[in-house]
Amino acid sequence: MTVQKFDAPYSEAAVEDLRRRLVRTRWPDQIPGSHWDYGVSLDYLKEICAYWKDEFDWKWQIEKMSAFHQYRYTSPIARGVGIHFVYERGKGPASIPLILTHGWPGSFLEMPKVIPMLADPASCGGNTADAFDVIVPSLPGFGFSDRPTESGVDTFRIAELWMELMKELGYQRLAAQGGDWGADVTTLLGLHHPERVIGIHFNTIPPYKPYLEAGTLLSEVEQAFLNEAVRWCEKSGATIFRKPLHKRLLTA
């Protein structure tokens, strides 16, 4: 069996260990009145950690998660890395298979609100004709997917893995959606498998810079966007902006 049923595990010992660590937190100081200027505000973090320690109920969250059908998939292409995914079949006459990919620092937990809207539109005031079969994997090394033990599990390989998974689930054609790393993976699905991909949808602009012929003129809004992005990188510490995709891959 390459696809197996999965239930998120609950461990009392892990929760206890987490609590002990929260209790023992050794706080740094902060420049008085600096709020979020140098990074996360000390007051805010203390408050959220106190809640995490005293009130947050992980067990209940696990129970909520178990309302979704979850599985793990292993295949040779993943070299032994098991992939966790949520799989909700659409309640409609002709559901379109749709794979939703999260990014960093996110997880499959970004999706629970949209899953019923997409899989069961009628329950949210929509039309059953618009239903999707929704597949929400956890990226390798995230959540309940395995952590790769070798280098090279990049978005290219993840995109291939997603195609395999969808085939395993019986889908020849699929739609794809994502943000952040998910937008990266989704781009590659559309780029490498146009014959199997119905369409791709992004909630963040994918990280690839389009190929520009020498002398290409950017529009005013494109230039403004690039300028703003450079400013953002400067302010938030990113040193690399927009990875260039191999020239041949993005020619017109």
Binding site: T149, S236, T239
Partner: protein
């Protein structure tokens, strides 16, 4: 100006808590690929942590530190810690030596015997009165509540030296310390005998009106740019979100050790074998100092403050004070070797010594070569 003697004495409870935390470390997986290729190697760090918890003896180190006369001076409401070592047999040349990041006053202690009593150690040249402070927010020095840049520290150091009744003095350092020494000379040339640097912390002005770059300068800038791309992640985070990083590293000895040791390995002339170059007990004394004083977060504010509240060098900025550069360029992750003409854009270079061995932490790596260079330089000025 109140000056009080200071003695390092860490509470037993703090040391016991440190050991407990080390033993409770929750380790990540080993990174795929070659050891160290994605950062500090897991096995190496586990080994170091085991030694830190089970064998390293802080009290022995504390006793050794007690052999150096230490004080705290209150300047503008901030306690500044320093070692004060007078020349053997009388007044020496006053010299303030400033460390950088991720280091501490400890880095300069090997120079104390060599420069306060050079003859006894076979070093030609004058003896020195050494002042070795802890940068604000490092070790036992407090950090002011406002932004602190090279200039702020240079002004504090001037107050410190005059408080010790030194009217004219030399200044030396590496990393942030080189930046501080430079600003001392720029802002108060009349007080400065000369400055001695082991790293080029500040880039000179190369904008409009400056001399065209030489081929060697271009090559140096190219190497340096590549270095920043592959090695500069620490600076990107420390200059934008130091506080966020601080929560993690103030709470985890293993995290702190991984973050700091990796820099010592990359920046020293160790060929990848840090402990072959920097003794384990020194490294752990440094890490324990950062830990027990809880100063990681305040130390990295230097990156934020110098980036957003820093000083920009313009065409008019030139250090007229005699300047010596001991060019230690054999870092394991090579940053490039600045040519002399690069330094001459900003400094009145009177002595230029390319060093065959030694990287970023010269006083620990090559104390004798450094002491000789310092002694020879100041001998030429008096």
């Amino acid at each position: 100006m109140r000056i009080e003697p200071f003695k390092v004495a860490v509470a037993e409870q703090v040391l016991a808590d440190l050991k407990t935390r080390i033993r409770n470390t929750r380790w990540p997986d080993r990174a795929p690929g070659a050891p160290w290729s994605q950062g500090t190697d897991l096995e190496w760090l586990q080994n170091l942590m085991e030694y830190w918890a089970e064998q390293f003896d802080w009290r022995t180190q504390e006793q050794r530190l007690g052999e150096f006369a230490q004080f705290r001076m209150e300047i503008d409401g901030v306690q500044i810690h320093f070692v004060h070592a007078r020349a053997r047999g009388g007044r020496g040349i006053p010299l303030i030596l400033t460390h950088g990041w991720p280091s501490a006053f400890l880095e300069y202690l090997p120079l104390v015997p060599l420069l306060t009593d050079p003859v006894r150690h076979g070093i030609d040249g004058p003896a020195f009165d050494l002042v070795i402070p802890s940068l604000p927010g490092y070790g036992f020095s407090e950090r002011p509540r406002h932004a602190v840049n090279y200039r702020t520290v240079s002004a504090l150091w001037h107050r410190l030296m005059t408080g010790l009744e030194y009217e004219r003095y030399g200044s030396g350092g590496g990393d942030f310390g080189a930046g501080v020494a430079t600003l001392m000379a720029l802002d108060r040339p009349d007080s400065i005998l000369g400055i001695h640097l082991t790293t080029l912390e500040l880039a000179p002005y190369i904008g409009p009106g400056s001399r065209a770059l030489s081929p060697a300068e271009k090559a140096y800038i190219g190497t340096s740019d590549l270095w920043w791309q592959s090695e500069g992640g620490y600076k990107a985070i420390q200059s934008t979100r130091p506080q966020t990083l601080g929560y993690a590293l103030n709470d985890s000895p293993a995290g702190l050790a991984a973050w700091i040791a990796e820099k010592w390995r990359s920046w020293s002339d160790c060929h990848g074998d840090l402990e072959g170059r920097v003794p384990r007990d020194f490294l752990l004394t440094l890490l324990t100092l950062y830990w027990v004083t809880g100063t990681f977060t305040s130390s990295v504010r230097d990156y934020f403050d110098n980036r957003w509240h820093g000083i920009a060098l313009g065409p008019q900025d030139f250090v007229r004070s005699p300047t010596a550069i001991a060019n230690f360029t054999s870092q394991y992750a090579f940053e490039g070797a600045a040519p002399r003409e690069w330094a001459e854009r900003l400094y009145n270079i009177q002595r230029w010594t390319p060093m065959e061995r030694g990287g970023h932490f010269a006083p620990i790596e090559e104390p004798v070569a450094l002491a000789r260079d310092i002694a020879a330089f100041f001998a030429s000025l008096i």
